[in-house]
Symmetry: C2
Subunit: 271 residues, 2 copies
């Protein structure tokens, strides 16, 4: 078995670490501070793969991850789906909490809980849930919203479990590397397209090509091109591998119709 170096969004105890442990390859973990640094570690050859969050079932896509996939020449080599269960963690007691810290997405996922219990308490967004836990380990005034794992890692009490507004909460992580894995028979392919012209029906004509071949789109998401307001790229995930004849031919056809087609990679589907 290959032994890898895997870059993840840290610090220790993060949900990304959970994703790395769920992934089918093993390796030494290198921790990075933010998504950009984690992704670019692959380009700097510090790691073989990097794992970053791309989408949450409550909050939607992580725009920075999508934008970095557009910006860099990397390949998606895998995906991992992790169940998210936020806890309120502290060294102090609930009544003594002066600041609640977590990643903005986690704060947003616990919006109702925070409004109910911390109406007059400072709520401070920080870079990651596990960083919040790390900071909470230094003061009884701080509570972190983070995972059970980070409670264990930083010696915090779990004051309350499962505090997200909606119980069903999963995050999809992607593994980025430099090569496309071989087909497994249960794969997904991610692409980005830019439609040459923003005319009625331009997106429709692209989707027609997929529909004609019964290719299942699992996701379609628009992102700004950053050129001007109202100008978009489309991130599309579909079932199948780029080496499948059906997928290959359809993408070739689409390539001739769009302003840009970027293939982000084919990789084994999670679960």
């Amino acid at each position: 078995m290959e032994w890898m170096i895997i870059g993840i969004l840290g610090p220790e105890g993060s949900y990304t670490e959970k994703a790395a442990k769920q992934w089918n390859k093993m390796g030494d973990l290198h921790y990075y501070d933010d998504i950009q640094d984690t992704v670019e570690a692959v380009l700097r050859n510090e790691v073989d793969y990097s794992i970053v969050p791309v989408e949450n079932s409550l909050e939607g896509s992580i725009p920075l991850t999508l934008d970095l996939l557009m910006e860099h020449q990397l390949k998606i080599a895998g995906e991992v789906i992790v169940q998210i269960s936020h806890c309120l963690l502290s060294k102090g007691r609930l009544s003594g909490i002066k600041v609640v810290m977590s990643h903005p997405q986690a704060l947003s996922q616990c919006r109702k809980f925070i409004k109910m219990h911390f109406r007059n308490t400072e709520v401070r967004p920080v870079l990651s849930t596990s960083l919040a836990a790390k900071l909470a380990s230094g003061s009884k005034d701080i509570a972190a919203i983070a995972s059970v794992e980070s409670a264990q890692r930083y010696g915090l009490e779990i004051l309350e479990e499962n505090i997200q507004d909606i119980n069903e909460n999963h995050t999809r992580f992607i593994v980025v590397g430099k090569e496309t894995p071989h087909p497994t028979g249960n794969d997904k392919t991610s692409i980005i397209i830019y439609l040459q012209k923003n005319r009625p029906g331009a997106l429709f004509e692209i989707l027609k090509e997929f529909a004609n071949k019964s290719i299942d789109l699992t996701k379609i998401e628009s992102r700004p091109t950053k050129k001007f307001l109202g100008d978009y790229l489309f991130h599309i995930d579909l079932r199948g591998h780029i080496e499948d004849k059906n997928i290959k031919e359809t993408l070739e056809k689409i390539n001739s119709k769009v302003g840009m087609l970027k293939i982000l990679g084919s990789y084994p589907a999670a679960r």
Copy 2:
């Protein structure tokens, strides 16, 4: 002329205030702390209209605004496009800055500037750019990333102008109220659809209806249903008014094909 009460995302000096001043209706401004409170002020009958950001040309959609449109029975009554130009503001000197504060989207829009000048300085996300400016007025240690207007409002020096990574930077704001304005001849309509079945081609069939009638889609954006990962709603903006025969008939046809069609309103297009 009618005199209104308009709820906006505050405090004074915010980009939303700029949007309110650009809008074609005049009124007293009521300031709210966050997007949710601003939108829900209409439901609480505290204001006639509320104005909140919905989309930025660099960062994309504001997910919370989209989710609140899904959650509540409100009508979009207008849109305003505001040019965004971030400045670095402080009472102190550049060399003495210990904390840089701004709204997370503004921090993200100035990512390169921050990385270059504040590598070892604390960067703290706060609720709004104008709140950051307000806080910076209290200490020479704090710099805010905010508008020229908020420099004037809070008596701050402009240490650096136009610090966003990409110069072309616009935010689209929506005006929410309770009624749909009459057609003006240059209108947009916003809808949300939920496809009954996540089968290949489901979205394609909906877009076909628009394409058949040459209805111009200006935006299509997916948002999670929050039920499970991979289950999406589609927010669609199109040219035309719900009272146009073409639009009305197409939406009726689509309504019979989807799991849910929610009409968020028709309103005069900006510019």
